[in-house]
């Protein structure tokens, strides 16, 4: 007879050891001064160095198999890693799009050759991947993709043409993954193929442009007959949509947004509120109102943490979350905006001051974080789309 399962809120000894090792390494290695933004050329280089350090200490991809540079970490250990990583204030992960979006797809659809070729270099930050989902006419509506790949039988591959845009850190990366239309007759979700493309290929042009926060974080990528071989197709030709959906569900789901980031932000918000830059001596009527907002943000971060623990329990026990990952995305993205907004409200008049202003609190990091947070409800499927998904797939309302 199977043993009765109980509520269990203790980390086991292996997990505790994992946390200790992780915490101790981070405490020794996290730069004491924040690196410059990884979305600028200068900052990107600094972040690459950091990524290489992570890789050498086997912290770059903890949940991957050891042969690719990981630690075979469990989902629980991965949560612990993320919690420690953000708690330590470690740098943003500029390798994130490859590791969190492409890699799960490679693990699922890649040939052994593709896996061996790309995964270790990705983990080591030798190949740097950016995503090529959006196009000028295909944002929320990914099925509207127009970029094309035309068969070049002679050369044994494909010729790519068209344009991708809003490619995060595209100007600094070496490779792009994304969908191209291989069957021009097919409509919408059909006839798309998932390609991996080296950005130094002939016929590829990358143009960086400015994001809201002023960093050159975005790029447009133009394809003008660029050639890629058959070995750069991920999954079946013309079946790219279902291949990509596995990736976007990672983007929306658990793997992109562990609670550690938000619980760490919420703790910093609490610290800000307790400081003189926040509520100060709390003597004004305004203070309790803002204290209430800080508390809401903290509570919502805790709810996300607990929800994730319940989610991971479900996954571990074989109850897959399915469309509930849309709930996740709604929660963390709106929580993140709320944390940022509350910080600005605490800072009051000084909220507008940014890096370079002597009077800026924390070097303007809160305004930067707020601007970053504002992208959350937009990218990876706008929150309007997510609410449709929740209504239709979780609640069962008619699709129309």
């Amino acid at each position: 007879m199977r043993q009765t399962r109980r509520v269990e809120l203790r980390w086991n000894d292996t997990e505790r050891d994992f946390r200790d090792e992780c915490r101790s390494w981070l405490s020794d290695h996290v730069p004491s001064r924040p690196l410059p933004s990884g979305d600028t050329a200068e900052g990107f280089a600094a972040h690459l160095e950091w990524e290489q350090q992570l890789f050498e200490a086997r912290w770059a991809v903890v949940s991957w198999p050891e042969r690719y540079g990981g630690r075979d970490a469990s989902l629980w250990e991965w949560l612990i890693f993320e919690e420690e990583y953000y708690r330590a204030g470690a740098p943003q992960r500029v390798t994130q799009n490859g590791i969190f979006l492409l890699a799960p797809t490679l693990f699922e659809f890649g040939t052994p050759e593709q896996q061996n070729r790309f995964l270790p270099r990705m983990a080591a930050a030798e190949d740097l991947w950016c995503q090529g989902w959006s196009e000028p006419e295909a944002g929320s509506d990914l099925a509207g993709i127009r970029s094309r790949a035309v068969r070049d039988e002679e050369a044994g591959g494909w010729r790519l043409s068209g344009q991708k845009t809003w490619t995060t850190r595209g100007a600094f990366c070496t490779h792009l993954f994304g969908l191209f239309r291989t069957d021009p007759e097919a409509e919408r979700h059909k006839g798309l193929t998932y390609f991996m493309v080296p950005l130094d290929a002939e016929g590829v042009t990358v143009r960086g442009f400015g994001r809201l926060d002023g960093d050159e974080g975005f790029a447009e990528v133009f394809f003008d007959g660029a050639f890629v071989g058959d070995d750069m197709v991920l999954g079946e030709v013309d079946r790219g949509w279902s291949v990509a959906m596995a990736t976007t569900s990672s983007e929306r789901g658990l793997t992109l947004r562990a609670p550690g980031r938000f619980t760490a932000s919420a703790s910093r918000l609490v610290d800000l509120a307790r400081s003189r830059d926040g509520l100060g001596d709390g003597s004004t009527e305004r203070s309790p109102v803002l204290a209430d907002e800080v508390t809401r943000a903290w509570m919502d971060a805790q709810a996300y943490r607990l929800y994730t623990l319940a989610d991971v329990t479900d996954i571990v026990e074989g109850r897959p979350p399915g469309a509930r990952s849309s709930l996740n995305k709604l929660w963390w993205s709106e929580l993140d905006v709320h944390i940022g907004r509350t910080a600005l409200d605490l800072l009051g008049e000084r909220a507008e001051l940014v890096e370079g202003a002597e009077e800026a609190v924390a070097g303007g990091a809160w305004m930067k974080a707020y601007q970053f947070a504002l992208s959350g409800p937009i990218y990876a499927g706008t929150n309007e789309i997510q609410r449709n998904i929740v209504a239709e797939r979780v609640l069962g309302l008619p699709r129309r």
Binding site: R6, V7, D292, L309, Q386, A391
Partner: protein, 372 residues
Amino acid sequence: MRFALSDDGLGFADAVRDALGSVAPPAHVRRWWDAAETSLVTPPFTGDGPWQALVDMGVVSACLPGDVGGAGLRFVEMVGVCEELGAAALPEPVVATAVVAAPLLADLAQIVDGVGEASPEVVEALEQALDDVVAGAAAVAVAPQDDTLVECADAGWLLVEADGGLHLVDGRSLPANALVPQRSVDGARRVARLDRAHLDLSAATQLCGTGEAATAWVAARRRAEVACAAQLVGLGRPMLALTVDYVNQRRQFGVPVGSFQAVKHQLADAALHLEFAVPPVRFAAAVLSGVEGTEDAEWGPLGEPQVAVSTAKAAASDAAEQVAAAALQCHGAIGYTVEHDLHLYMKRTWALARSHGDAATHRSIVATHLLR
């Protein structure tokens, strides 16, 4: 790490849901409404009906120790049951008796036994009260010193907080004017104000005044807060389900109302907040039950019992009210009638959202812990 109901707790909750589905449909709730037209005294519930069904299932005595006839369950095993009792909008005072008062009685019996402080009369009354719970012969209610409303207008036993300690009062011997029933917007609620002037609190009712008793009392009040939160998340479910059914079926402008994005998004938001209120409620129950691991410093402030409790109640109050608001708006005029069942759940939500501390109060408690 395993953050999910235990198999036992889940099985118990499922069994209770199934049972309530047949013995406590909305028509049952309406009978309590109808009774309130003529009298606010609680209708008899100790005969047939859901109360007896739950007694028979062992729900009412579940948290009592095995040696007095209970099942020795911890509160964390009962939180799913509380959700189901909420989802049924059950009028009978099961939650107040089973998870709040009964385990408190048991705690007090143990303390009295150890300290030997109470009079023989009160020790006997304590035994009688415990027997009554096991037999399902009486509900037990608590009456805090701050004169918050008593949640059962004619409990068989009453645990009254008064200067210096706790008193056990036989409800059946109370003067008629001691518990003054108060009409609630929820016609199936039976709340009362305790008029202490008509109460005889003597040494003969005094249970104990030790620090241990105070601790047990605080624990009981926290259980009441979390149990109320659990009922609220439970209440959210039928409101959401009724609404989803309605908007799928109701057509306007040639299409189901549920195909409009404005309806979809209101309900998606309501579902979102309801879903995210559940884990804090269950976590608070785990903390109050002393589940192993909850003492780990990694939890931070959330590991402090009152913070966990207040986080749960604030989240549940707000989420359930949001569901109620979305449900009413998406129903339109039909939801604004008492002929439709929605109002049964909605009005209970309004009441419970502000009972045992409203969201603002609980957030201010958390704020004090975080920002002090």
